[in-house]
């Protein structure tokens, strides 16, 4: 049973829709790190007037987008080892300088995928095992980014394949950071995370706050200004 089947007749937002929603939320001039996987799609939806600088923890400051065909340069990849093109004015630094900038707080936001996010702002995205600590997993740069970026935005599906909640009171998986998440973007809506609470800011078209709350594993406040997510124009 997929999450789409869980609510017959109700469409969830597509990944592209969500990527565009996230992209257009970046204030002008932000420095943005996009995590591996779904968040990579966000890069395709920013508007040039936003003057967004995408950084990648492997030392690329200012990439333009995913490269294809003749634009591919085998030496130029992002953190997901996808070929990318460079923005005019890009700069390359080595890994220690790249993480120096990250720890310094250079990134206005890092957009990361996740398995779980909790109302205290913690999230879990690097290990699906709940077993004893065996030094197995794939952290990459997520812990550095989560600890040091000005904000952490999570882009994820609202529920598991079994339709269980991913927005929780407490993470059940080992966390990537014990706090720091400020926004969560799921296929059901846009949520802020503040003072230990999830607040529904925007709901997916056709979905009511109550329907979303029913698929959420933590108390869900509803913003007094809650609106339907608009596809950015």
């Amino acid at each position: 049973m997929t999450s789409h089947e869980a609510a017959p007749g109700k469409e969830r937002m597509s990944r592209d829709f969500l990527a565009a929603v996230i992209a257009r939320r970046f204030p002008k001039g932000w420095l943005v790190n996009l995590g591996v996987g779904m968040p990579t799609m966000v890069g395709g939806y920013v508007h040039p007037d936003q003057e967004i600088v995408f950084t990648s923890e492997n030392g690329v400051i200012g990439y333009a987008g995913i490269a294809s065909g003749a634009d591919i340069d085998h030496d130029t990849v992002n953190a997901g080892v996808q070929f990318v093109t460079l923005q005019a004015g890009a700069a390359i630094v080595h890994h220690a300088d790249s993480f120096a900038l990250i720890r310094r707080g250079m990134n206005d936001v890092t957009v990361l995928g996740s398995y779980e996010v909790a109302q205290d702002g913690s999230f879990a995205n690097w290990r699906t095992s709940k077993g004893e600590w065996d030094n197995l997993g794939g952290i990459g740069g997520a812990m550095d980014l989560a600890a040091c970026a000005q904000q952490v935005w999570i882009m994820m599906e609202h529920t598991t394949r079994e339709n269980g909640p991913r927005l929780l009171e407490h993470c059940t998986l080992p966390v990537t950071a014990p706090d720091g998440v400020t926004m969560v973007f799921t296929d059901l809506g846009v949520f802020s995370v503040r003072d230990g609470r999830f607040t529904l800011e925007e709901h997916a078209p056709g979905w009511t706050p109550d329907e979303i709350a029913a698929l959420t594993g933590a108390p869900l406040e509803v913003s007094p200004t809650v609106t339907e997510v608009q596809f950015p124009t």
Binding site: V77, A96, F99, G138, G141, M143, T176
Partner: protein
């Protein structure tokens, strides 16, 4: 410290490397010293502790080059320190992860920025430093914590290895190196972080004085051996 030896083959470049070494392996897709790794594989060196970003997800390459994954699968690595020791999702197959699970190889999983900074510290004569990365997670368990200016940090120790393998774009006869685009990644810091640094270089090695002193990414004084990748060598990385 003498001038680097310019080797005429990959085999010569890895000659004499003993078993049991600590080895730094840079690369993030591009910038992986594939030719030196292949020569090391062929030389049979074993019982190594390898530091790398990832244990290497692909199961070998079709063109014959050997990756860290191949060295691990051949049981030549006793311990790995990396930011990726396993796929995040258990559904993805991984020989290294299976070996770690089975106790056939020791593993240390570290945040990527911490790995980079630990080697940078080692190459900079700094034995330990504090970082916020990993605080409140499994990776900081058992490590010393300390508060500075109201925030909690974890103490991390430097890494200074026996050997580093480096992949450069350009080099001169004194070992000065230039990297290209994101093939730079861990290379400049790993080049500083080992007692013996061996470099494979893509372009023909030029006479000293031809590279602009302002544009050199790694000063040659830390380089011990230098070898040009032969025409039939491995020039392009295998994208993951």
């Amino acid at each position: 410290m003498a001038r680097p030896i310019i080797c005429s083959s990959m085999a010569e470049a890895v000659a004499g490397i003993p078993d049991g070494i600590q080895l730094l392996v840079p690369g993030f897709g591009p910038g992986t010293p594939a030719n030196l790794l292949t020569a090391l594989y062929d030389a049979g060196v074993k019982d190594m502790h390898v530091y790398a970003n990832s244990v290497g997800l692909p199961q070998g390459a079709s063109d014959g080059r050997k990756t860290l994954n191949d060295l691990i699968a051949a049981r030549r690595v006793r311990k790995v320190t990396a930011a990726f020791t396993a796929p995040t999702h258990p559904s993805q197959a991984s020989v290294p992860a299976d070996m770690i699970r089975a106790g056939a190889m020791e593993a240390e999983l570290v945040p990527q920025g911490t790995l980079a900074e630990r080697v940078r510290a080692g190459g900079a004569g700094i034995p330990a430093f504090f970082t916020p990365a990993g605080v409140g997670t499994l990776t900081a368990q058992g490590k010393e914590h300390r508060e500075f200016n109201g925030r909690m940090y974890v103490m991390e120790h430097a890494i200074f290895a026996d050997y580093a393998f480096i992949r450069a774009w350009k080099a001169d006869t004194l070992g000065n190196l230039i990297y290209r685009r994101s093939a730079r990644n861990f290379n400049p810091i790993f080049a500083m972080g080992a007692a013996h640094t061996i470099v494979e270089v893509e372009e023909p090695i030029v006479p000293a004085g031809e590279l602009d002193p302002d544009q050199i990414h790694t000063p040659g004084v830390v380089i011990e051996r230098l070898v040009q990748i032969p025409a039939d060598g491995y020039f392009r990385e295998v994208p993951r």
